[in-house]
């Protein structure tokens, strides 16, 4: 049961987070037209995707679930079929090579997909979703199985897509750090219901201080301490000046710190929603 009213109407990068079974993937399947048996409607530019799948799908590129990919073809052939289906006869070999280059897979263009690592396969799957530069890009768990280099490449790709032109990008992930970094808006989904719809503005981190249980949050002065629980407080830091001030207060007030966690706003909100200690 997913109950989500008019959600995705703007040009932005939206992150959808939630525990397993919260309905993230199901929601993406509905939006991308993989499921046609549901109540309500999924509209692309006002057109119902169930009734007019082909026209709507031209505007959508999606990576759904975690496909294993076809074992015996290579990455060039895999991208070629995506180009052919999205662009028809206009498919050009140079464009495919360019895509392979941006995915860091050009040197493996003739390698059968079964011989690629899971991270490389994931990069290729993302490449398939963005083939033809669609208006709406849907990525389900795009950074799963990716190493640090792959995650960096993914961030660069999303930034490039964001700067290229106005479009809607929807991403689900358990990696709240990456969601917090790249998304403009985060939807927290639990049991098919929206628990929170959060607009993110600018960068920044929360520092969670683990201190004594009798610690008074007021001691932190004008710092925002919106989360406090048994000796743990969250302090919002979004610039260097605040960071220096933060450490100065800790030093001056001789606050006994057991541990410091650096988390994004998304992670903090998730902790609050899920009641994580």
């Amino acid at each position: 049961m997913i109950n989500i009213p008019n959600l995705f109407m703007e040009n932005s990068i939206i992150g959808i987070v939630g525990p397993n079974g919260s309905g993230k993937s199901t929601l993406l399947k509905i939006i991308s037209g993989c499921i046609d048996d549901f109540k309500g409607s999924s509209l692309v530019d006002g057109i119902n995707i169930v009734e007019n799948h082909k026209d709507c799908a031209r505007k959508i590129g999606a990576l759904i679930e975690n496909p294993w990919l076809y074992s015996y073809v290579n990455s060039y052939e895999m991208l070629e079929i995506a180009h052919k289906l999205r662009k028809g006869e206009k498919c050009i070999g140079e464009e495919i090579e360019e895509d392979l280059k941006s995915l860091g897979l050009l040197h493996k263009k003739n390698v059968p997909l079964r011989d690629l690592s899971s991270g490389e396969k994931k990069r290729l799957s993302i490449g398939l979703a963005v083939t033809g530069s669609p208006d709406i890009i849907i990525l389900d768990e795009p950074t799963d199985n990716m190493d640090a280099v792959g995650v960096d490449m993914f961030e660069n790709l999303i930034n490039r897509l964001k700067n290229e032109r106005e479009r809607l990008i929807i991403i689900t992930s358990h990696d709240l750090d990456i969601i917090g970094k790249i998304c403009d808006r985060i939807i927290f989904l639990v049991g098919g219901e929206i628990r929170k719809d959060l607009e993110l503005e600018g960068g920044g981190y929360y520092f969670i201080l683990h201190t004594d249980e009798n610690f008074k949050p007021e001691i932190m002065g004008d710092f925002s301490t919106e989360y406090s629980d048994k000796g743990k407080i969250a302090v919002w830091i979004d610039n260097e000046e605040k960071l220096n001030k933060f450490f100065r207060i800790i030093s001056e007030k001789r606050i006994r710190i057991k541990n410091i966690e650096k988390i994004t706003r998304a992670e903090l909100e998730y902790k609050k929603i899920m009641g994580s200690k």
């Binding site: 399947k29 993989c34 082909k54 074992s71 015996y72």
Partner: protein, 283 residues
């Protein structure tokens, strides 16, 4: 059918065929059929007359082997092997084609593209059909070449008839395998499962046909031989063109067999279409 639909079906069919061609399944089935073909070639070139002797009573002393008899026995030997190949090829290529795409989630790549479910299904059928034809026709090609070597002439028109029937049977078996594949979720169970279900269905249908043509209450026992004959008559390429008596069957009997074969194809196509397309969710 629009140009875009044809383009999509063609592009996807070529893509799936590339994946089949490079797959281990294709290598195994191709090697197996090549081995069988070479075995049959050896048997035909060196032992055809010994085989013919098996069909002639010992009391008759053979002075000369008439070419038509040699031809009939040659066709009988190759045809009785050929009956097993299409179902084997179809079980390899067709029975896992959809279930493995669903299991591996690869189907989402196509369901999220500007491609309809019908286009995806047709391209799958086409690629499985061509892959099965390529492997089965390796056997048929060797049969043809060995025929040229032994008889030093082109086979008669019944060979064309035989090829047409083989094509029809490959189509039936491929669609049957794919219909089975659309029902099961685990690709690994599909090949064996399909062969068992396929043989069960064709046996049951043959029993029903036999029952309808006989008023004998104990027909299963008394007509067991006839039932077996009917099974093969309606599902295999050899008996559609030739009979066990080595003389050609009547045109009516062959047409009946072809109609039954087409009947199977239509029923399997309906199952494939309705099961696959009525799935609200792919996974």
């Amino acid at each position: 059918m629009s140009y875009n639909t044809i383009w999509n079906i063609r592009s996807m069919a070529i893509f799936f065929l590339k994946n089949y061609r490079k797959s281990n399944a294709f290598k195994y089935i191709f090697s197996l059929f090549l081995f069988i073909s070479l075995l049959m070639a050896t048997l035909s070139i060196f032992f055809l007359r010994s085989i013919v002797n098996e069909f002639i009573p010992n009391s008759i002393k053979i002075v000369h082997y008439p070419t038509p008899i040699l031809e009939d026995i040659y066709n009988f030997a190759w045809g009785s092997i050929a009956i097993y190949l299409p179902v084997l090829a179809a079980s390899f290529f067709g029975s896992t084609s959809i279930s493995s795409d669903i299991e591996s989630k690869n189907i989402y790549h196509f369901m999220t593209m500007p491609v309809s479910k019908e286009e995806y299904l047709l391209s799958k059928v086409l690629s499985c059909y061509i892959a099965s034809i390529l492997s089965v026709f390796l056997f048929v090609a060797v049969q043809f070449i060995v025929y040229l070597i032994i008889f030093k002439s082109l086979p008669n028109i019944s060979f064309v008839n035989y090829i047409f029937v083989v094509l029809l049977i490959i189509l039936t078996d491929t669609i049957g395998a794919m219909a089975f594949s659309s029902i099961v979720k685990k690709g690994s169970y599909s090949p064996v499962g399909f062969i068992v279900v396929f043989l069960l269905i064709t046996n049951i249908v043959s029993l029903i046909i036999s029952g309808m043509t006989s008023l004998d209450g104990g027909f299963i026992i008394t007509n067991a031989q006839r039932v077996a004959y009917l099974i093969f008559l309606n599902v295999d390429p050899y008996f559609m063109v030739y009979t066990g008596s080595l003389s050609g069957i009547s045109l009516n009997a062959e047409l009946l067999s072809i109609y039954i074969q087409i009947g199977y194809t239509v029923v399997f196509s309906f199952i494939l279409y309705s099961v696959f397309l009525r799935r609200g969710e792919i996974s």
